[in-house]
Symmetry: C2
Subunit: 405 residues, 2 copies
């Protein structure tokens, strides 16, 4: 008898027909003798509808009240899922985040899980119930309703799996698993049977949309092995786990493309200590997340000058530019140039650590495909390049062919 | 500085525009220096939509899970109302029933309030907040989400007013107050400035739709004076309170018509001890509420026989007939006849106690209007008669003219 935590996203519970299908799947596991904890998101569209209502009142609703409002979405799904299971004669009990013992800090709309008291869940499981827990939500120490922010339901599932010492954690979604590349862009992409936490993190951070970074980080920290799989079929998915020695045999695990970044270049920044720090402190203070940074040193006339380029999420570009232009007197650059037509292509694999020449092969492949590289950034298990946006698909296919076929 | 509890029903918070209007009204009271606790229902349509979702899964969803599901409706309204108040720069905090300290028994879908711990509400009020409490819901001793059943939000408001020792409790609805008769049926109907709990109870029990009986009973038990008034204008409403001596000067406070009853007559019941008890125990066991009962004694041949008539809510008629026909061998009656085309007209007033001849005047008025009386039932402050359904409006107008104009 295994203890399994299953998480179903908004699409998988998007209407009562799908909720019934989820119930059938859960019932099948239970018929095999497993104990099952089910974590569900709000039905797709519900959260957006609630946000729309709040925005009808004010563009800036209070975060505490948004948590009270949005937490109702998952609460509706847990009740409907429990009802669907009971209709299949499977004993089931729903629990809100608070009732499931999920305690968070008090940072509304992006609370962090502090602690899970799984006694109630264990008690209900031991009584023979399937336990349905509302994802995305918790309760602060002072009894306030909190939500965990984007990807929060994945986090709930993984944190519960850790607290319950579950044998298996399954993240059900609308894709079959983690692929070597986005199959819509690369027809030859293959589903990966397994991937390491670090590879998953680098892929997610490089534009692959399967899961939010924080859930994978949490799984890594607490060593929770989980499987990403589809709620639409019974195919095995991708197991995400700690790196094994055999994983290093594969140099590149996957290729990803991030079209959601924009590039800002400051030309003629005086090359003195503290200038770069001033730029990026300013951006950080404005809560703008900077991804890649490249600095080239150059001489011009008698003053040492440099050009600094960096990338930010596209929606932050305008704000970033305002911050930068506001700092112009202080930083002392000549001009700033923004470029929204970029794509970031990355290759990821733990095997890179023990294989040399990976970056060279990447650059060579891109050159042969006629793709110009604008920026380069590397980590231990990843190489990312910024290229022109309209070359993104071509670059992906070329790299996938070179490394993964 | 007064402490006011205001309750707004589903129509009053039916969309964000109306929620903004509620916020403006609350803000005006607060600007006058009052402390305000606001109790809200689910936005109109929300509860029905959730019930529809559950019924898509099964016609008989579990009551525990229905409570989890339906409680989200009021939770959405509290958040949106708090956001609307904050937008008017009024500090406001929303609380679920559980957070507001509303403790109930564990009878799902029709829980009874056991206890209210108002400490958190007081603390938030003392900090200068308007406190928005979700109506209709509470939490059982074991931490389960419960709902209070029909009219539950009124009950929440009145119970909170009692627990907080509020100076005033206002029940906002879509009518201006309690009328001498339904203005749609009786054009001369007048709004009553005040009414006693007992009169309100008799009117509500006689078909007037203003409030559920249990909320009025609760208010009477805990001596909570409340005002029924409209959320659409600023007219004073009707104050509902303990009877005063001056109230007895008015013989009849109001006239009501209940078209939702049906009559069952059992002909030829043997007139022996225990027969009537057997009938009505059978109906009670089937959870059928019987309103009026009339028994006429008669002789026929050598065996003492009687006819027994009683009324039930129309939706219960079929079930009542099945119960009765199932008991036929045991009760020994000749035949049962159902009549759905009836109306119950009642006159209500505490002044009846000290004024004689009220019933006689009622019967006389109906006779002059050509209305035949089928059944009669009286209480200390009410006389009800069953008449043909199509004579209901005529009877109402005649009685209103005779007693109230």
């Amino acid at each position: 008898m295994a203890l399994i935590v299953q998480k179903y996203g908004g699409t998988s519970v998007g209407n009562t027909e799908r909720i019934r299908n989820v119930a059938k799947r859960v019932a099948a596991y239970r018929a095999d003798g497993d104990q099952v904890v089910v974590v569900v998101s709000a039905m797709s569209g519900v959260t957006d509808g609630l946000i729309r209502l709040a925005k009808e009142i004010t563009p800036l609703p209070s975060e505490r009240e948004m948590d009270v409002l949005l937490a109702t979405g998952e609460q509706q799904t847990i009740a409907l899922t429990a009802i669907a299971l009971q209709t299949l004669n499977v004993p089931a009990v729903s629990l809100t985040g608070a009732q499931a013992g999920i305690v968070t800090d008090g940072v509304h709309t992006k609370a962090k899980i502090q602690n899970i008291s799984p006694a109630e869940v264990h008690r209900l499981l031991d009584e023979g119930n399937v336990v349905i827990v509302a994802g995305f939500q918790g309760q602060s120490f002072s009894g306030q309703i909190t939500t965990l922010g984007r990807g929060g339901s994945d986090l709930t599932a993984i944190a519960l799996a850790a607290a319950l010492k579950a044998d298996l954690c399954q993240i059900y979604t609308d894709v079959d698993g983690v692929y070597t590349a986005d199959p819509r862009l690369v027809p030859n992409a293959r589903k990966l049977p397994e991937i390491s936490y670090d590879e998953m993190l680098e892929l997610a951070g490089s534009g692959a949309k399967v899961m939010q970074l924080r859930s994978v980080e949490f799984a890594k920290k607490f060593d929770v092995v989980f499987e990403v799989r589809s709620s639409l079929n019974d195919h095995p998915g991708t197991i995400v786990k700690e790196e094994t020695s055999s994983m290093e045999d594969v140099v590149v695990r996957g290729v990803s493309l991030d079209k959601n970044q924009a590039k800002l270049t400051l030309f003629g920044v005086r090359d003195e200590p503290g200038r770069a720090a001033r730029i990026f402190r300013g951006l950080a203070d404005a809560n703008i997340n900077v991804d890649m940074i490249v600095q080239n040193v150059s001489h011009e006339g008698g003053i040492r000058q440099t050009d600094i380029s960096f990338t930010v999420d596209k929606p932050d570009l305008l704000k970033a530019r305002q911050v930068i232009d506001g700092l112009k007197p202080e930083i002392g650059f000549k001009e700033s140039v923004a470029d929204e037509s970029i794509g970031k292509v990355s290759i990821v694999g733990v095997g890179m650590r023990s294989h040399s020449g990976v970056a060279a092969k990447m650059f060579d492949t891109l050159a042969q495909a006629g793709v110009n590289i604008e920026m380069i950034s590397t980590s231990e298990i990843k190489v990312s390049v910024v290229i022109a946006a309209d070359k993104g698909d071509l670059a992906m296919r070329a790299l996938h062919h070179a490394f993964l076929e």
